[in-house]
Symmetry: C2
């Protein structure tokens, strides 16, 4: 489940300015897991990027001087989709609604988070969620279990939260220790409080026309929200989703289809993915492969939503690494009409959507409009 | 819900041999609902083709002399995928397993069918299911309710079948009378006996990697089974599904993706669908639009699975109509490497898969391998 494990066995390019494809042989460099602090893997875990199977080469730098076929006009730089600002707007909107709810019916939404084991990355992620809850006025309840707890103990606590009327959302921080059955534990969360939207019943409703899911998974919901807030039309557009994970790629494809896009899903078994992405008006990429989507993968004027948050080595950074997306920003931003940066694009939207889902749940459970 | 209602308000072409697109203005002819006997609509209902929104023109005849761009070599005619024969093979395999099950543990699978109202088409369809059950040795139980029955009465009977150990599959024949809530009634079937596979929990599991649905919806399962039985590779292939209905298009796309195809879904909002279908190695069409997919929509060598069963006027037929698919067989069979005919392609597979699902359910419920 840990992205670092993958990185350790991967050939990485630190610069590819002379290459137009990821199969270049320049600048080989081998990483080990110790290069990055343990907390980084949370970025990939957060987005379900657990086992990228795309090209075995990783590009840590891509330059506009690479031999792309597309002519780039520097005057047509893309709109930067500012996820940080949108997420802030959403948090403010959520805070206003929570305040109104409290005033009118005396109810404060509550989010319970269950953390098993002592992974530092998971602890950081839970702390960020708690902090975000605090800022908008959601009560957060955290339960920590030691690594060697039994599945039954965790299930017992989930059941308690299911019955607790002050809890409107329940999150189980992943990954769980290997001796626990993740599916059993996630299925135990009652669907009315499944603010992550990962329950198969929610996914089924998301897939079906005429049905409504109770919750939409946070990261793909955040991607679509960015398109909406930037007035980017979806209906009738060609959309390509890169990656088919349960928590980003697959639900993102279902959401785009619900909005009447014509959707194609590209994944590790796709031959010549760039031929498909080049037809897209909208690309959502969620594979966890640094700079995989080059400028010549993009149709001029396309809108690019980059879910990947990948650490790559950077000796110039004080931390020794920096974060890049799945999309080579430097190249693609000169071809696209709009693009999310990394960091500061989709990233901040996930927690904003979690807060929004928790509010939605409280409103529904208390029949508050 | 009735395909005939749609036909009655539609402009229909009886011949388009001189046209290369469905926008031709030749040979206009208006239909009324009385042209077809009432039983025909079951074909479309069976495949969920309730409201085709594709071009408002219907082509009842397409000829190879039409001005398609693709060169056709008469010597490279496509393999005809014989669904009738495959369905027969499957029924025989199911019968053998049922016999073995009866001998070894004394259990006979049972299928309950609920029919509300007195639509002739529904009655015919239920009769066909019963007949198919008889031929393989499945016990079938039929309950008929008058048109004006209450939802509660139907729900009560579903609940009875849910608890009945001799019933392993429960089917509610659609459409239901308009005063009943279809969603409530379908949701009442317990997931272990949902042999239609339409429950959102099943669909969710079908969409999710690492999860397994208890049942796969019969028609899309039949499409994939045809590909398997003809040794047509799916992994890594470009697949296009035309139509996104809950009971055919959407689950067909999910199934193809589970088999590692790169899937695109084309629907009524898709602009220039032929540009996308022309890239496909495999096309599954399920829209209920006669002859919509022309020869020049197809990549040479593609495999074509035609779910549409559309009645079109034919004065030469004793019944005054004949059945055609969504794909213009005459043109496409000269371009494709393999194609299902209509009738005799996907049609017979649906009931075969229903029998297979009922056997599967009985085996699972009795832990029989």
């Amino acid at each position: 489940m840990d992205a670092l494990i993958h990185l350790s066995s991967t050939t990485i390019f630190t610069d590819c300015s002379s290459s137009s494809s990821s199969s270049s042989t320049a600048c080989l460099l081998h990483f080990t897991t110790t290069k990055f602090p343990n907390t980084i893997s949370r970025f990939n875990l957060q987005f379900g990027i657990s086992n990228p199977k795309f090209p075995k080469t990783i590009i840590t730098h891509c330059s506009s001087s690479s031999a792309t076929a597309i002519q780039v006009d520097n005057e047509t730089a893309a709109t930067v989709i500012d996820g940080k600002r949108v997420a802030k707007d959403i948090r403010e909107e959520v805070a206003v609604e929570i305040s109104r709810m409290k005033d009118e019916i005396g109810i404060v939404p509550g989010l319970a988070v269950i953390l098993v084991g002592d992974r530092k990355d998971s602890a950081t992620y839970v702390r960020n969620k708690k902090k975000a809850c605090d800022t908008v006025g959601i009560n957060s309840y955290e339960v920590r279990f030691p690594e060697d707890s039994s599945e039954e103990e965790v299930l017992k606590h989930i059941s308690k939260f299911n019955d607790d009327p002050s809890v409107h959302g329940i999150l189980v921080q992943l990954p769980l220790p290997s001796h626990m059955n993740e599916q059993n534990i996630l299925n135990a969360v009652c669907i009315e409080k499944d603010v992550d939207g990962f329950h198969p019943l929610n996914i089924g409703r998301l897939a079906m026309r005429g049905r409504e899911p109770l919750f939409v998974p946070c990261t793909p919901k955040g991607c679509i929200e960015l398109l909406h807030r930037y007035d980017i039309p979806i209906k009738g557009k060609r959309a390509v989703v890169i990656g088919r994970s349960n928590i980003v790629g697959m639900p993102a494809a279902l959401l785009l289809q619900r909005e009447d896009a014509t959707v194609s899903i590209v994944h590790s078994r796709t031959k010549n993915p760039e031929e498909i992405t080049r037809q897209a008006d909208i690309i959502i990429s969620a594979v966890g492969q640094p700079n995989m989507v080059r400028g010549n993968w993009v149709k001029p004027g396309a809108v690019l939503i980059d879910v990947g948050i990948n650490p790559v080595e950077d000796p110039e950074s004080p931390r020794g690494y920096r974060l890049v997306g799945d999309i080579c920003y430097e190249e693609a931003s000169k071809v696209a009409s709009a693009i999310t940066p990394v960091p500061g694009g989709v990233g901040p939207m996930t927690i904003a959507m979690l807060l929004s889902n928790t509010l939605l749940s409280a409103k529904r459970l208390h029949n508050f409009r």
